[in-house]
């Protein structure tokens, strides 16, 4: 397995190179340029041209990419020409914030959705199964900007039980941070609950139909042992794969939640960078999220292989 893990890690390198080239090229086709983003629509053409020249933004794409890539691999992530802040600490801080939010959300989402999904699968076609399926799927279809606003209004504005933002004031203790994350995590739970619970249910139903489960029951194993020893272990395979694929989104794709709850995460950072042609910031943020995405999937594959040794990791 170690060889396979090493191979997957090595494969990340060409993937990241390809991604970095794509980002550079895509940033090029976005309307406008960095000089115009900095000086705004009221600056003259001459002023913008002067600034683009000063920033090197008027050089050919391949030259700019070569300079950026050369610096990036040596650890020099550069400075944002738009925000005039160093890229690496800005991206890493935003990433840290996003990982905290994603981690907290996963702590809520994973156990609840697995319990609901497995319970639903074990009670297949019962009223409870239908109730769980319908309610979790209903929550999933509510966009986070709707559920977020409603939750904010009820719990922060009306009842004043929870804070209106996701970041605690400076000097707050460790537990305060989680208190501030409760409200933004709930819309994420709504979005993910139905999806993951559905996968857990499907996995459970499929495993329950397997001959080895029938054999286990027929040879008189207690129901609890059948479920925990055989059903859960095998039913989790598709669920873990889905969770792994969602980690990347939970870290890099929470633009709406970050905007609504005023949370300085990496999703909003990427959108802002794309809108202002802040290529160094955009490149670094996207590549970091890409690494997280790939590592999360790798970890999911390792867990799947451990859960079911018959499954070997693909290349």
């Amino acid at each position: 397995m170690l060889r396979l893990i090493g191979r997957r890690l090595l494969l990340m390198v060409p993937t990241l190179i390809l991604a970095s080239i794509l980002i550079f090229a895509l940033a090029e086709v976005l309307p406008g340029d960095v000089g115009r983003s900095i000086l705004g629509p009221y600056a003259t053409q001459e002023q913008v041209a002067l600034l683009n020249h000063k920033l090197g933004a008027d050089k050919p794409l391949y030259q700019r990419y070569a300079v950026w890539a050369g610096n990036f691999v040596t650890g020099d992530w550069g400075e944002s020409p738009v925000l005039k802040v160093p890229v690496r600490p800005t991206v890493m801080k935003a990433l840290g914030n996003s990982m905290v939010l994603a981690g907290f959300a996963l702590l809520l989402i994973v156990p609840i959705s697995i319990v609901l999904g497995v319970f639903s699968g074990l009670r297949r076609d019962s009223a409870l199964d239908r109730a769980i399926t319908v309610s979790t799927l209903s929550m999933t279809v509510i966009p986070e900007f709707v559920s977020g606003v409603v939750l904010l209004y009820i719990f922060a504005v009306w009842l004043k039980w929870l804070p209106v933002t996701a970041m605690p004031p400076q000097g707050s203790n460790f537990f305060d941070r989680f208190y501030y994350l409760i409200l933004p995590a709930i819309p994420l739970m709504f979005l993910e609950l139905g999806y993951i619970a559905r996968m857990a249910r499907v996995g459970t139903v499929q495993v329950l139909a397997m001959p080895y489960i029938r054999t286990a029951v027929l040879k008189g194993l207690p129901r609890r042992r059948v479920i925990f020893g055989h059903v859960l272990r095998n039913a989790m395979v598709p669920t873990v794969t889905v969770i792994g694929s969602q980690v990347g989104w939970l870290i890099g794709g929470l633009v709406v939640i970050e905007t609504l709850f005023v949370y300085p995460g990496i999703g909003k950072l990427m959108v802002d960078a794309a809108q202002t042609h802040d290529v160094p910031m955009l490149e670094a943020a996207v590549l970091v999220v890409a690494v997280i995405y790939m590592v999360a999937n790798l970890i999911a594959d390792i867990i799947v292989a451990l859960l079911n040794p018959r499954i070997r990791m693909g290349g």
């Binding site: 900095i38 003259t44 600034l51 738009v82 925000l83 004043k160 802002d272």
Partner: protein, 565 residues
């Protein structure tokens, strides 16, 4: 003629104009402020006219927070608004987030009051020569920057030379273009500066006011390091700036300002500004009590703020517009009949009701709108008239109908305005297709020829949002003159240009009114752009917050703000 003699003569002229009924009291106050009369001096002029000084119609409702308790010292006011798009360099800022931050620690020669009038700030007085092409500004003495260095004429000269240098990238270069050139700002002595203009310009003081936000006075050795080592003369000092998140300010202990009772300003110890892009999120923070002040409140979604018993929404006479520009170089808008036809399709009160709950001022496609800019001649209202619109379409050879495309950014209430125009044009046989672009795409353009390619200047028909401008002449210079780089209409009317140059070359109010009447008529008749309304500005604060100065929106002077117990 000496400055004092000139001011005495001008004052006498203003008094005579009022006594002859050729000028209202409100007009007198506005013109007096443009020519550098203090509020006290302007009050004396009104008294000299006889009668009460409260006469004259107010352009717009006064801020509702006018009954103020006694100031309370101390505390920190928490503000909320959008983040600056870029690092907020005062030389190049162009967005709300940048302007509201710069306003706290930098100052201008002249400030704008609650009704877009002028009030002295770093300049104590200003006068023009007879030709109105040389303006002399007397600077305030005893002012220091917060790094201890003294403020003087050298700082003013370098500040203006900097923004007039193309390398600085300042948008003020376009704003001042054709009026003030490099080398035109001259130091007379340590506290006197002269502006030698390229042409007479009676509204020049507005161009060096806070309304032209890139003209903030910076120290002579300013090196662009604005957020790491911010230096200014303003009431606050920027203590901390985290891009896209927050900024905090502490009071400037050496600030020169004092209130009428002699108390040192600012009243509060500091400000905290939280950067939030989304209006709904901003409003929720206000309603939850997490923040105290929202410098600019947008109408969409503000109903909950009006209804909140803990908040006060102040209403200011805004001058911002949505310019609905016909590109007169593109088909079919070369024909003014067709432009007028569209203008007569608009039900302006209905638009005002739909977009602003009826709280904005109606516009009739001219900048000289008396309900907004005091001193403007009466404009001719344009009511919806489909019979006339159809006749104009027929005169334009389009009796069978007209198919046109309206380009609009998905920004603020612009898409809704486009939809209203679309619906109101249909009964006349004008079929409007809406081309909705993202904000970025609407303002994008090629790197090599931005103004030749960007949609906001080159679409055949489009809607562009304009923030407040303090005088009709400033608007006209920015978008209706042939060389105006921000002209979406590409309009070139020689009669208008001639009259405009005359208008900005005279201080005689009777002549100015005559010329304004002519300009207004030409603009309205030719209809290069439609101005259906002038947007009232809203500012929301907790009910215990008082004393915020400025004409609404992000021009937000917090030096006299305080939180009552």
């Amino acid at each position: 003629m000496s400055d004092d003699q000139y001011r005495r003569d001008y004052a006498q002229h203003l008094i005579e104009q009022v006594n002859k009924g050729q000028m209202t009291r409100r007009q007198l106050l506005v013109r007096a402020s443009v020519f550098g009369f203090s509020a006290t001096a302007a009050g004396s002029l009104l008294a000299a006219c006889g009668g009460s000084s409260s006469g004259g119609s107010s352009a717009s409702p006064a801020p509702s927070g006018s009954s103020m308790p006694a100031p309370v010292m101390g505390g920190t006011i928490k503000m909320i608004g959008p983040a600056p798009i870029t690092e907020p360099d005062p030389v190049t800022i162009y967005d709300q987030g940048g302007i509201v931050l710069v306003y706290q620690f930098l100052e201008y020669l002249i400030d704008l009051d609650d009704k877009n009038g002028l009030k002295p700030k770093l300049a104590e007085s200003w006068t023009a020569n007879d030709k109105i092409d040389v303006w002399t500004f007397k600077l305030r003495s005893g002012v220091t920057f917060n790094d201890g260095s003294p403020f003087g004429a050298e700082d003013v000269v370098t500040s203006f030379e900097r923004i007039l240098n193309p390398k600085s990238g300042s948008g003020a270069l376009s704003q001042l273009g054709g009026v003030l050139s490099p080398g035109g700002t001259k130091k007379v002595d340590d506290l006197t500066v002269e502006f030698h203009l390229d042409k007479p310009f009676a509204d020049f003081p507005y161009m060096v006011s806070g309304g032209n936000y890139n003209t903030a006075i910076l120290p002579r050795n300013y090196n662009g390091n604005n957020t790491k080592n911010p230096v200014g003369t303003g009431p606050f000092m920027m203590k901390n700036y985290v891009a896209k998140q927050s900024a905090s300010f502490v009071k400037n202990p050496t600030y020169w300002g004092k209130d009428a009772a002699g108390n040192q300003l600012p009243y509060v110890d500091g400000l905290e500004y939280t950067m939030v892009e989304d209006n709904s999120a901003q409003n929720l923070q206000l309603q939850s009590g997490a923040v105290d002040v929202q410098p600019q409140t947008v109408f969409q979604g503000a109903q909950a703020l009006f209804a909140d018993p803990n908040l006060r929404v102040d209403i200011y006479p805004g001058t911002g517009i949505r310019e609905v520009a016909f590109n007169v170089t593109k088909t079919p808008w070369q024909d003014k009949n067709l432009r007028q036809a569209v203008a007569y399709c608009l039900d302006r009160p209905a638009i005002n009701k739909a977009l602003y709950d009826g709280r904005s001022n109606l516009g009739y496609d001219t900048f000289w709108e008396p309900s907004v800019f005091a001193g403007s001649p009466p404009s001719t209202p344009r009511a919806q008239d489909y019979t006339k619109a159809k006749q104009l379409l027929s005169d334009g050879g389009k009796s069978a109908g007209l198919d046109v495309t309206l380009t609009v950014a998905k920004y603020l209430e612009n898409p809704q305005l486009a939809q209203l125009i679309q619906a109101q044009c249909k009964p006349a046989g004008i079929n409007v297709t809406i081309n909705q672009l993202s904000y970025t795409a609407y303002y994008a353009g090629s790197s090599s020829d931005y103004y030749g390619t960007t949609p906001w200047i080159n679409a055949a028909w489009d809607i562009t949002e304009w923030g407040s401008r303090p005088a009709p002449g400033i608007y006209a210079a920015a978008m209706l003159l042939p060389k105006a780089v921000w002209s979406s209409s590409h309009w070139n009317n020689p009669d208008f240009v001639t009259a405009f140059n005359q208008y900005e070359s005279t201080v005689d109010e009777a002549t100015r009114t005559q010329l304004a009447t002519k300009l207004s008529q030409i603009q309205q008749d030719d209809t290069p752009i439609m101005v259906p309304f002038y947007i009232t500005q809203l500012r929301t604060q907790k009910k215990n917050v008082y004393g915020i100065q400025g004409p609404g929106s992000f021009y937000c002077d917090m030096s006299q703000a305080f939180m009552a117990a």
